[in-house]
């Protein structure tokens, strides 16, 4: 457990060493605030449904940027060779890195707290859906991050890691979207909408936390973290 904590701390602080992290946080906040507040007074409703509706799309670009460095940098600078000869198991390293990226995402999303504060100042919103929405956003973010880190473990190139992660996430997103499901054979539709990252966010967007969605996101996270550990272990069977 101590080793996981050590890796978590190292990874988490390393996000903040480079100025890119701050640039990203600022871009994220300005972008989401702008998109949310532009139609805000037209809609004239004190809720955050539209804000949470943006997040799957914003995460599609934001999360690969967080995770692209994860393994690609370790492989390129060969630090992975030292890291994996220290007394840590592959799984501990994977988990440490994952939670560090989740913490970074949580910090970024938490900084959007200005939006609910504004809502409470100018209106009378229902806090339940807002809290539910934030919790759901983190669950979805966790699944995205696990995918991004897994992709990053397959390449030495951060740009490749970004693009591939984007592609994998995009496919998993739209697979359950009507754009795809309208054209797929009827037999496959339930499977596709079950697998789609997007479909499971619809009720979370409304602030409703459904156990099925929670289980879905947690298992997606678990599966990709497992695959990540597997891909590290693949050096052993070469």
């Amino acid at each position: 457990m101590n080793t996981v904590a050590a890796i978590f701390k190292k990874e988490f602080t390393s996000y903040f060493i480079s100025p890119i992290a701050y640039v990203f946080i600022v871009v994220f906040l300005i972008g989401t605030n702008f998109m949310y507040f532009q139609p805000f007074f037209l809609i004239n409703q004190a809720d955050m449904r539209n804000y949470f509706g943006l997040l799957p799309w914003v995460f599609l670009f934001f999360v690969p940027a967080i995770t692209m460095r994860g393994w690609a940098e370790e492989k390129k600078s060969k630090t992975v060779e030292l890291l994996l000869t220290w007394p840590v198991s592959d799984a501990e390293v994977v988990v440490g890195k994952f939670f560090a990226s989740l913490a970074f995402l949580a910090v970024t999303v938490a900084l959007s707290v200005t939006i609910p504060i504004t809502l409470f100042v100018i209106g009378n919103p229902d806090p339940g859906p807002i809290i539910g929405g934030y919790a759901g956003a983190l669950l979805m973010g966790a699944a995205y991050l696990a995918i991004g880190l897994w992709v990053s473990s397959h390449t030495e190139n951060q740009i490749v890691a970004f693009i591939l992660a984007w592609v994998v996430m995009f496919v998993l997103m739209i697979i359950g979207h009507p754009v795809v499901t309208l054209k797929t054979p009827a037999a496959l539709v339930p499977l596709f909408s079950f697998l789609g990252l997007f479909t499971h966010f619809e009720s979370i967007e409304r602030g409703v936390i459904d156990t099925r969605d929670v289980i879905y996101y947690l298992s997606m996270t678990g599966v990709f973290l497992f695959l990540n550990a597997q891909s590290l272990g693949s050096r052993k069977s070469e």
């Binding site: 101590n2 080793t3 904590a5 050590a6 890796i7 701390k9 190292k10 602080t13 390393s14 060493i17 480079s18 600078s77 060969k78 630090t79 992975v80 060779e81 030292l82 994996l84 000869t85 220290w86 007394p87 840590v88 198991s89 050096r235 052993k236 070469e238």
Partner: protein
């Protein structure tokens, strides 16, 4: 003390490693005793780094076994890693961390905490002379300092076995001497495996040497064994005399114990440089001198040549043919 020298720190038994069709290591057998500084030599691509990666549990062997302090790497992966300190080739470090942060991180991974962590990091700062650089980013350090951070990282948990893969590459002569002293100091109590292709380094620091080529052991022994046991046990003299080539050769051949003489063409002044090979190890310098003096030739140089480890190495590993 007897326990220290008696037990084996590392046993490598029938080690094989294949990468697809390529055999990186073939049937490698060797052992390293406790308290030894062991030189692991070979030309580039001989399988040195692969062997080290197997010993440090980064990759498993295709077949064969490695025992570190009696523990099999296949069964006691994490326990073996705790006993080993490893500095890989090219010294991979996290460039964006400061030296202090990095050593604290490695210490925590190694299970150190609180006062123990503090005292071990302080020790490393003084042993590796890094105190001045504590708050610098590793990426901004010179090669020599990076190397010291790499060594500090490998020694922070006071490992029983220290494995260094090409620790001197890219260092200037002064830095090499500093690092060599560090290794020697550490090697007084602990076991060190030192991979290199710089032979003078190895002969200066190591108690025992193993030379590997194409993944196979070519020869193993002390630096002394390797240099003296070479060329059938004979030795060689270089003689510079002034005189007619034929008569010089004839008189040198007549000296007792000489097995052969080769001479280079004479200089315009008439000096001839001859190489005299002997059959046995005994010193025949006096005989050569007397023979030259008796034939009335002038002598400007008479030297017994030391076979260098370089020659042994080049001969055994066959250059790049």
């Amino acid at each position: 003390m007897s326990e220290k020298t008696g037990r084996l720190m590392l046993e490598v038994r029938g080690l094989n490693k294949r990468f697809g069709q390529v055999r990186a290591v073939s049937d490698l057998n060797f052992e390293v005793r406790r308290g030894e500084v062991f030189g692991f030599l070979g030309p580039n691509g001989a399988g040195k780094s692969t062997t080290m990666r197997i010993i440090t549990c980064f990759i498993p062997p295709t077949s064969g076994s490695v025992l570190v302090d009696g523990l099999n790497t296949a069964d006691y992966d994490l326990a073996v890693r705790e006993k080993i300190g490893y500095l890989p080739e090219s010294t991979p470090l996290y460039a964006d961390m400061t030296v202090k942060e990095y050593l604290a991180f490695v210490g925590r991974i190694r299970g150190l905490k609180g006062a123990a962590l503090k005292s071990r990091t302080d020790d490393m700062f003084s042993v590796c002379a890094l105190a001045k650089m504590a708050d610098r980013q590793i990426g901004k350090l010179s090669k020599g300092y990076r190397q010291r951070v790499g060594l500090a990282q490998a020694m922070i948990h006071d490992p029983d076995l220290l494995i260094l893969d090409e620790p001197m590459s890219g260092l200037d002569p002064n830095q090499i001497i500093e690092i060599r002293n560090l290794i020697k100091k550490f090697g007084e109590e602990k076991t060190v495996i030192y991979c290199s292709h710089i032979l003078s380094e190895v002969s200066a620091t190591c108690d025992r040497i193993l030379i590997i080529k194409d993944g196979r052991v070519v020869v193993t022994g002390t630096p002394g064994d390797l240099t003296s046991g070479h060329r059938g046990g004979g030795s060689r003299y270089t003689v510079r005399v002034k005189g007619e080539a034929e008569s010089v050769l004839r008189s040198l051949k007549s000296v007792a114990g000489v097995s052969g003489v080769e001479a280079e063409a004479a200089t315009p002044e008439g000096w001839i440089c001859a190489r005299v090979n002997t059959e046995g190890k005994e010193d025949i310098g006096e005989g050569i001198f007397k023979c030259i003096a008796d034939s009335g030739l002038s002598l400007s140089e008479l030297r017994r040549d030391q076979t260098s480890l370089e020659e042994v190495f080049t001969e055994l590993t066959g250059g790049n043919r």
